[in-house]
Symmetry: C2
Subunit: 266 residues, 2 copies
């Protein structure tokens, strides 16, 4: 066996090895390379072996599965497969389980709340006014996502203030879960420029009018959120504010969300 008959992997911090494919190859060539490499990694006492296969190299997937690999996760342009070599229980990291969404409570000084009607989805054509909502993108901070979604849907520029509450739900899409953060934002502009693709209508509405919608009154979750927003409006409620901190694992800044009022009163 010569060195060129093995796959080139990079060692990870957990005694494993990761192989990233950049060039296409024949699947039978790949199969024998993989078999020889696996034998070598076993001898070396490697634990998890990862194969990151770009969608252009989809012809290699079947051979990897036949060698005992299974799927770990996938993104549009690649598939990650993994094989745990040791006899002991796998300590491989779990796949992502949650999608994260935001709802934005934007209250102006006249006591009006920013609401929208959506063009698609379950609220289409219902006439129901709701807070701007959206999905937090990969790598995006929750507080940034809230500001971005409000700007995209209504043109309103805002400053993030607080997370008022959040809800965890399961089987939101396929078998995955959802974390929905209700955020309070302060408007820095007032002239609504609605986005035409998704938004049917957008306006500033007296909070009482929003809360009095039959749909809102009928749903336990929305009624709680109305109570929270009302308490916030009357300055009787404190949520979590973001504080930038360095993590224990890297020097990058990450947001820690905490009850800043209670902490600063110490």
């Amino acid at each position: 066996m010569t060195t060129c008959s093995l796959l080139t992997g990079k060692e990870d911090d957990f005694g494993g090895v990761i192989v990233r494919f950049t060039n296409q190859m024949e699947s039978n060539v790949f199969a024998s390379l993989l078999r020889a490499s696996m034998a070598q990694w076993k001898l070396q006492g490697k634990k998890g072996v990862w194969l990151e296969i770009p969608i252009e190299c989809v012809n290699l997937v079947e051979a990897a599965v036949k060698e005992g690999f299974y799927y770990h996760h996938a993104e549009p342009k690649y598939l990650m497969l993994v094989h745990w070599i040791p006899e002991t229980n796998s300590t491989l990291p779990a796949n992502a389980t949650h999608r994260v969404g935001i709802g934005a409570f934007v209250l102006n000084k006249e006591g009006q709340v920013l609401v929208v009607q959506e063009k698609s989805g379950k609220f289409r054509g219902t006439g129901i006014w709701k807070f701007p909502t959206g999905v937090v993108e990969q790598g995006e901070d929750i507080c940034d996502a809230a500001v971005r979604e409000v700007k995209e849907e209504t043109g309103i520029i805002t400053e993030f203030k607080e997370i008022l509450a959040f809800r965890q739900s399961h089987k939101a899409f396929f078998q995955k879960s959802d974390l929905f953060f209700v955020c309070m934002l302060e408007p820095l502009s007032f002239d609504i420029q609605k986005q035409d693709l998704e938004i049917e209508a957008a306006e500033w509405m007296p909070f009482e009018e929003y809360a009095a919608q039959p749909y809102v009154e009928k749903h336990e979750l929305l009624k709680y959120l109305v109570d929270i927003c009302l308490a916030k409006k009357e300055r009787k409620y404190t949520g979590f504010t973001p504080v930038p901190t360095t993590s224990t694992f890297s020097s990058e800044k990450h947001f820690l969300y905490l009850n800043g009022r209670d902490l600063s009163s110490l």
Copy 2:
């Protein structure tokens, strides 16, 4: 074309169709079935077409990609591919982006906190005492995960009280993000039975001793958490408590986490 020459799909609520494979078939048979079915779905004005391919049918993946499908997500035993038919922008749901973890602050009536030393990972052999931590499993509530992890690692039975704070970090594993919830739990038992596989040692430690560890003092995030726990210990801090609510989308109960003290004081 007869009806048996088309794939059998199930319509979804968004004008799309989902095909779940249960039987193996030859990849060339699949390729022509898929081509004929796609033509039909286009005529019918379908939007998203989903293919859920179990790992046993991995031989079909290459044909699907050649027909213009790309990966949406994967779990160990299946791969989900998708194709967006319309010319307009895709409104397909995003893949899960976050893993969710918990850290457990368990304080007994003597002012001692439950701490562990881990057998593996970055803290192995460092002598550092830390709160029990763990990953929230698919479909699991955050509050249940905290109780489960404490029980698994230390044998201590607890009651969930509050989420004190949470941290969002990015690129925690591959390109995915992490949400880490610091939870307060009340111990209902006191006799530690540590789990041998992952836990080197577990004990009740005076909170001040935990907080005085150089590692804790050195890290901004942990220092914040110490301040929060100390404020909580002195009953000067309120986090978020879980309230079961029915969702707007289903009759199932989901937990809404909110500042219950501020809301009940209304």
